[in-house]
Amino acid sequence: MAGHLAVEDVLRPDRLRIELLDNPIIKIEDVTKIYKLGNIEVVALNNVSFTINRGEIISIMGPSGSGKSTLMNILGCLDITSAGNYYLEGLNVSAMKDNQLAEIRNKKVGFVFQTYNLLPRSTAWSNVELPLLYSNASNIKLKVSTALSQVGLTDRAHHKPTELSGGQQQRVGIARALVKNPSILLADEPTGNLDSESGNEIMKIIQNLNRETGLTVIIVTHETSIAKYTDRIISVLDGSIVSDIRQKAATVTT
């Protein structure tokens, strides 16, 4: 159980030291991901290391096929590394078993997909409620309605995905990621399928979350117009980090 692990591991002195020194929420060390297709090996990530601190808002950029999604899926515990270590809030995720990973996905990571990945036949409400059903959460109704109002969808709660616009579907996706009050929000090209106006609305919601609640956010994007709203840009090329730049983030205006 990841829950037990959390208590034990956080209390271990070495973990505690990391927490106290620079407060990193994410630390990856020499992470490599290799896909095997028959006898061809595709190195999607090659010895990637970096640290992300609590409260940062970061964008990951790079050309198509450079390994951005692969990296995000590993950070979101949707996929596992081939080599290297991944620490999330001091816990060694790369050593975890299936059910511990499920608990991390359930409680600590909010993941927003480019293609939304909503349950097609369930309402916005049911989709947002989903993570709470897999934890023994209390106050489910309050949490779901809060999350839906955070993304401005209170009046669309009982619509199914097919009855919502792309932007609205993505906002359901964000509400679903937020409802469990996660430690980090990961968004893989959240505006990739949206027009610039809807995209801006999404970015405004995300930026506000970061600024008002201190939520740590990582966004994958192709567009500099999105990246400018973050205060750190990590660039990836062919599975390796080629630059890691801090900047002053612009404020989203609509």
Binding site: N73, G76, L78, D79, I80, D98, N99, A102, E103, R105, N106, K107, F111, F113, N117, L118, L119, P120, R121, S122, S126, L130, P131, L133, Y134, S135, N136, R176, K180
Partner: protein, 402 residues
């Protein structure tokens, strides 16, 4: 995930795809109801045949002549002989023909049996009303008739027709009695026969002359004193008839032991039941394949759903449990509806007329339970197959599944 949440998730997921749920349900319903109704027909005909044979009596031997040979009335009565045939209790020779019975505007073609008073005890008939054929009727070849219950109803409805007349070949016959229904349901049952004195049948209906002053009979029913004396009675009869016919080589008659016939027939009906069982099993299997099809067609959609659920924190066990619950719900509900349908069909076709056969069904609850279990197993197996595969994937692989 709590049990209640799992149940609600399964229920929501089923109602979210009503068509899929309905088709799977339909497969189970058809499979289960087919098994139940087919098996009830099988068991029904088995019961019919066993009943009918039991009605004939288990102490009964039946003697008939070999082709081109003759058994006479004399032969029949010679078997009542305390010295040569001590095991024989009674004999009832018979001639069988057919004719049209006319009562007013009603006419029925039936089998007419020429018989003797002993038939009442040998064949263990019961009278519904009136009396059976008596000795004077036979000696004087009187024009009297005893009707089977179905024949009486066909000609006279519910009215007690004892004392009334019917015509056969424009001769008038007095109805002296009506037999109680035997319950045997198909052609050949006494319910659909009429009985006249054996001499009447011979002289008046067949209009034949005697052969060397003898009346030939078609068969002789012999009642033994009890069931254990059947073999012995058969041997005694054989010896006596061979003496009478002065035979040194092959018998010119055949002795049929009805309890042997019962065994053979019971084996035959058992085969019918097994055969129907196989058909029923096949229909259940076909239903199972239908369910499998529906489940497999939706495997892409369901794999993505599993990916989403796992991405949101569902464990492998959560997923499996949801799918098991869905399948059990489907097959249980389908099984119950199937049982209700199957029993309904069985009751509906019970007593239905098929030509001159009456269909009889016996519902067996053990079969109903078995069908329910098998259909649940099929639903469970095919329902959780995609879940077992998909729940083992990393969430991202399930999400990417095409």
């Amino acid at each position: 995930m709590t049990l209640w949440a799992t149940f609600m998730t399964a229920l929501n997921s089923l109602s979210a795809n009503r068509l899929r749920a309905f088709l799977a349900l339909l497969g189970i319903i058809i499979g289960v109801s087919a098994v139940i109704s087919l098996m009830s027909i099988g068991r029904g005909s088995q019961a019919t045949i066993t009943d009918r044979i039991q009605n004939l009596g288990t102490n009964l031997l039946s003697i008939s002549p070999q082709p081109d040979e003759v058994l006479t009335l004399e032969d029949a009565f010679s078997l009542i002989d305390p010295i040569h045939t001590p095991s024989v209790k009674a004999v009832a020779p018979q001639i069988s023909t057919s004719g049209t019975l006319i009562a007013g505007k009603e006419r029925r073609r039936t089998q007419i049996i020429g018989t003797t008073p002993e038939a009442l005890s040998v064949r263990s008939f019961t009278m519904k009303s009136g009396t059976f054929i008596s000795v004077p009727h036979v000696t004087d070849s009187q024009e009297v008739i005893v009707l089977g219950s179905q024949v009486a109803t066909d000609l006279f409805g519910d009215r007690d027709s004892v004392g009334e007349y019917i015509r056969i070949n424009s001769k008038r016959y007095t109805i002296i009695g009506i037999l109680a229904p035997e319950g045997g349901t198909s052609f050949g049952s006494v319910d659909r026969q009429a009985m006249v004195p054996i001499t009447t049948a011979y002289y008046r209906i067949l209009g034949d002359k005697t052969v060397h002053g003898e009346i030939p009979v078609q068969s002789i029913n012999v009642e033994a004193h009890n069931h254990t004396l059947m073999e012995k009675a058969s041997e005694e009869i054989q010896v006596l008839l061979r003496l009478r016919h002065k035979i040194s080589d092959e018998d010119d008659f055949v002795i049929l032991n009805l309890s042997d016939v019962i065994e053979t027939l019971e084996e035959t009906t058992q085969t019918i039941v097994i055969f129907l069982g196989i058909i029923a099993g096949i229909s259940l299997l076909v239903a199972g394949i239908g369910i499998m099809n529906i489940m497999l067609v939706s495997v892409t959609e369901r794999t993505r759903e599993i990916g989403i659920r796992k991405a949101m924190g569902a464990t492998k066990q959560d997923i499996l449990f949801q799918f098991v619950t869905e399948s059990v719900l489907l097959s249980f509900v389908g099984g119950i509806i199937g049982i209700v349908f199957g029993i309904g069909i069985s009751q509906l076709i019970n007593g239905m007329n098929l030509g001159n056969q009456m269909l009889r069904t016996v519902i067996s609850y053990d079969i109903a339970l078995l069908a329910l279990l098998v259909s649940s197993a099929i639903g469970l197996f095919f329902g959780i197959y995609p879940a077992i595969r998909a729940s083992a994937l990393h969430p991202i692989d399930a999400l990417r599944y095409e």
